[in-house]
């Protein structure tokens, strides 16, 4: 199968997955408790006004009509049958609707939060890969030694530590007690740094990048710890598996230096399954950053999701979930494509 056909096939599969997610998200809205009209209206308004608002929101329509308008709105970017309470105008735009609480575009709000979440997910991945792979290699090449036990202990602790607890501890110790990092928030994002760079403010851009790093360090460690532990374990077991194979003995018998055998041949082969896991985990991190974002007041999709759930702002909840799902699907397609390119033994089948 050619690369083009492979991509088309995966994209079509992705469309069905996203459609499934959209359907589930719609179903969640239907079965979830809490009437959006109660969020929008003061408690003592009359039933007529309440009914009018429910009608304006399209919530008095049969479910299949609401579903059709919802799905077609997302697919085609046409009004979804929802109305902006403030203006009385039908909702249009990019198909994700308008926030019930702020009256602004969901697509624009979600789009603005996405870079923060992506930055966090990517930095957590970088932290994980930079720490985990060397640690896994050291652990595997020094089997049953002190470094191996240390790495194993670290992995166990990392996998079993809940990240909300870890985040709070990091804040208390490294930010409040030792004053090494800020406790929370995001002073500037990568788009801001790029803006400065493009406008020629090089010193400000460098300072912006340093500030960004300073703010993202603790959240990235918090989000990446579980991942780090996982990759360490994978690297260690993968290395051990590869080290026992005959090509390693053959290489050594040919007189190749041990370091060359380990890092050029063994590690390279070990990395193939790790790339898959890293890719999949990156997708998971985009959706899984909710708690970390909450603890660190990081203005990403997770914050948007929690705030909108609390306020029953369903268009915003739906928009956030759909963007997370699409992100996951896209990352998966990219990883699968890369995997087949990195490992020629796997074809585009």
């Amino acid at each position: 199968m050619s690369l083009a056909r492979f991509l088309i096939k995966r994209l079509l599969q992705g469309v069905f997955v996203v459609w499934g997610v959209v359907t589930i998200v719609f179903g969640l809205r239907v079965i979830a408790p809490g009437d959006p009209a109660n969020v929008l209206l003061p408690p003592d308004v009359g039933p007529e006004v309440r009914q009018q608002v429910i009608a304006d929101l399209g919530l008095d329509q049969p479910l299949y009509v609401q579903y059709w308008e919802f799905v077609s709105g997302i697919a085609l970017g046409v009004p979804e049958g929802l109305f902006n309470i403030a203006t009385g105008q039908p909702v249009g735009g990019l198909g994700l609707g308008t926030s019930l609480t702020t009256g602004t575009s969901v697509a624009s709000r979600v789009g603005r939060s996405l870079p923060a979440t992506l930055e966090l997910a990517i930095m957590a991945t970088v932290v994980a890969v930079v720490i985990a792979i060397p640690l896994g290699v050291i652990s595997a090449t020094n089997r049953y030694s002190v470094p191996d036990y240390g790495a194993t202990l670290f992995s166990l602790a990392g996998i079993s530590t809940p990240n909300f607890w870890l985040g709070v501890m990091l804040i208390i110790v490294l930010a409040v007690q030792l004053d090494l990092f800020p406790t929370s928030q995001r002073a500037i994002g990568i788009p801001g740094v790029v803006d400065l760079l493009v406008s020629g403010q090089l010193v400000a851009a460098a300072e912006g990048f340093r500030t960004w790093l300073w703010y993202i360090t603790l959240p990235a460690i918090t989000l990446g710890t579980y991942f780090t532990a996982l990759i360490t374990r994978l690297t260690r077991s993968g290395m051990l598996d590869e080290l026992g194979k005959t090509y390693v003995r053959a290489s050594r018998a040919k007189g190749l230096p041990d370091a060359l055998v380990r890092y050029k041949h063994v590690l390279r082969n070990t990395l193939i399954p790790i790339i898959t896991v890293v890719g999949l985990q990156l997708g998971t991190l985009i959706g899984g950053a909710v708690i970390t974002e909450f603890v660190f007041d990081w203005p990403g999709l997770g914050q948007v999701l929690i705030n909108s759930i609390n306020s029953r702002d369903w268009p915003m909840v739906q928009g956030s979930l759909i963007v997370i799902a699409v992100g996951f699907v896209v990352v998966n397609i990219v990883v699968d494509t890369l995997y087949t390119l990195v490992n020629p033994r796997v074809g585009f089948d």
């Binding site: 809490g34 912006g208 007041d297």
Partner: protein, 545 residues
């Protein structure tokens, strides 16, 4: 503030806010540059110098201090349109830029603001406000009667603007007009004894032409008021930055730059305060109080709020249909212990639906005493011995709500003739049941809180206990009649009716009376500020410690 890195505020200044933030809605446009009023000397743009009512224009040569302050709430404002929201966090942001005709001081007393005089119009169902002269909007234009009238109409009349969610906050107001440049006449649909209470709490004044020149969406993204601070930048859901308005009609604020941020997680807010990243935080949980007070960074300051927490008992279902049983529930709980142990002292015991600071509070009525023997006797007398009851409570909505509910149910469960348990509920679904307008949809016994910023006991009792109240759980003809009397009278007669209604509520015990919730703030040691009962965090009242 940490010295070893660039802080958020510092960085934004350094890099230039517009380049850094993605969606700044911008500084106030137009007139800012052209009004020639960027001097602290207090010369008004129209040449008048009437002293702004209090005769407190900025002293000549006075150097205004550089004193930036950051306030961190649990949520960011839902938008910047002062007439399109119902939330306290949004209100706290608004009050720094927009002002009402009249206002309240920290004790809740009505005070002049943009109006210097107000009165009822003889022989008419109307009220009149006399505007302060020489007040300017942040774009440099002078406040006139048309602006105030349009603002009132924008709230109460859908045809003028939009369906404002605040229309009920000006209940009884049907419209407004401006007979001349400094007078606003408000028409009422009856006597409306609380009209000035309503205006002291609600109705921010906007500039008519500014509003009419902008779309609804633009109005929600920028600000142009008359208050002591003017908008500098706004990043939706992230921060609002304001700067001191030096041509304010009263003394300019001591705070030079005011930033609003939010952190939903209480421990995050506490950590920000301890690290010096913010100056005022809201809702410090009782378990964090010592951590704040033991630090050098700040301390905890608390004030009784306008919110009452109570357990409603539906009068139409057994066993709560029995007055003896309802009274027994009040005698069964040790409210003093709940306030001191569960709430860490951050609460006041109640024994009537009206809080002490409110109009109509009956000083002769106290909380029920803790008397489990009397409770047991009353339960037996009610004929409901052996009953099992379940308390429905939201979780995390009010300060220690679940813990209060568990304590209440625990005390009642200790009675030998009643079994009580707690049912934790999602707030949204509980509120759905309370708001259907049908008493049968409500749970028989539930914990809920109610805030009333107007300081009017009548509004609390009407909404929560009158037969037709939006959230009522009770019906009593005598009580309804007393509220009716209060609604159609003023002065002493009205107060007496409300006090009698409170005494009756205490006797009939439609609720288990619980606590007045406190607003608990963390305040940086660099800021001097006293919290208020009405949950307003007023940076204008802040000074350097």
């Amino acid at each position: 503030m940490p010295e070893n890195g660039t802080n958020r505020r510092g960085f934004l200044k350094y890099a230039g806010g517009a380049a850094v933030t993605a969606s700044l809605a911008g500084c106030l446009g137009g007139g800012d540059g052209g009004d020639g009023t960027d001097t602290p000397e207090g010369t008004d743009t129209d040449g008048t110098d009437d002293g702004g009512g209090d005769g407190t224009d900025t002293d000549d040569d006075m150097e205004l201090p550089d004193f930036p302050v950051t306030i961190t709430q649990g949520n960011m404002p839902s938008g910047l349109d002062p007439h399109d929201h119902r939330e306290t966090p949004t209100d706290v942001v608004m009050l720094h830029v927009y002002e009402g005709l009249i206002t309240r001081d920290a004790a809740g007393a009505v005070q002049p603001a943009l109006a210097t005089d107000w009165s009822r119009v003889e022989g008419e169902e109307a009220a009149q406000f006399q505007l302060r002269e020489g007040v300017t909007f942040h774009n440099g234009d002078t406040l006139v009667g048309e602006d105030a009238a349009h603002s009132i109409n924008r709230i109460v009349d859908e045809e003028v603007g939009f369906a404002s969610p605040q229309s009920d906050q000006l209940a009884g107001v049907t419209g407004a007009s401006a007979p001349d440049e400094t007078t606003v006449q408000v028409t009422l649909d009856g006597l409306n004894p609380i009209v000035f209470s309503e205006f002291a709490t609600y109705c921010d004044i906007m500039q008519r032409s500014w509003v009419e020149d902008r779309s609804k969406s633009e109005i929600g993204q920028t600000m142009n008021g008359t208050g002591p601070f003017k908008l500098d930048s706004y990043t939706q859901d992230e921060q609002v930055v304001m700067t001191r308005y030096e041509d304010y009609w009263d003394d300019p604020a001591e705070v030079s730059e005011l930033t609003f941020t939010s952190a939903a997680e209480s421990s995050t807010r506490v950590n920000q305060l301890l690290q010096g990243e913010t100056d005022i935080i809201v809702n410090v949980p009782p378990q964090e109080v010592n951590r704040v007070n033991n630090s050098d960074a700040g301390s905890v300051a608390a004030a009784p709020s306008t919110r009452i927490i109570y357990n409603a008992m539906r009068y139409d279902v057994e066993p709560f249909s029995s007055k003896q049983f309802r009274q027994a529930m009040n005698y069964a709980i040790d409210l003093e212990s709940i306030v001191s142990n569960v709430l860490g002292g951050f609460g006041t015991q109640t024994g009537q639906p009206t809080l002490p600071e409110f109009v109509g509070h009956n000083d002769d009525v106290g909380p029920y005493s803790y008397d489990p023997d009397e409770a047991e006797r009353l339960v037996d007398e009610s004929g409901h011995a052996g009953v099992e009851i379940e308390l429905n409570t939201p979780v995390g909505r009010y300060l220690k709500d679940l813990e209060i509910a568990q304590a209440v149910a625990g005390y009642i469960d200790e009675l030998p003739n009643v079994s009580a348990s707690v049912n934790q509920r999602d707030f949204g679904s509980l509120v759905d049941e309370l708001l259907t307008g049908n008493i049968e949809d409500k749970p028989p016994w539930y914990l809920i809180g109610w805030g009333e910023a107007t300081f009017e006991g009548a509004l609390v009792m009407t909404a929560l206990l009158s037969t037709d109240g939006a959230l009522t759980s009770w019906s009593n003809d005598e009580f309804d009649s007393l509220l009716e009397t209060a609604a159609n009278s003023t002065g002493e007669e009205r107060i007496a009716a409300l006090e009698e209604a409170n005494a009756l509520a205490n006797e009939e015990a439609p609720w288990i009376f619980l606590n007045q919730q406190y607003s608990v703030y963390g305040v940086s040691s660099r800021v001097s500020w006293e919290p208020r009962s009405d949950e307003r965090i007023d940076a204008y009242a802040m000074s350097q410690a």
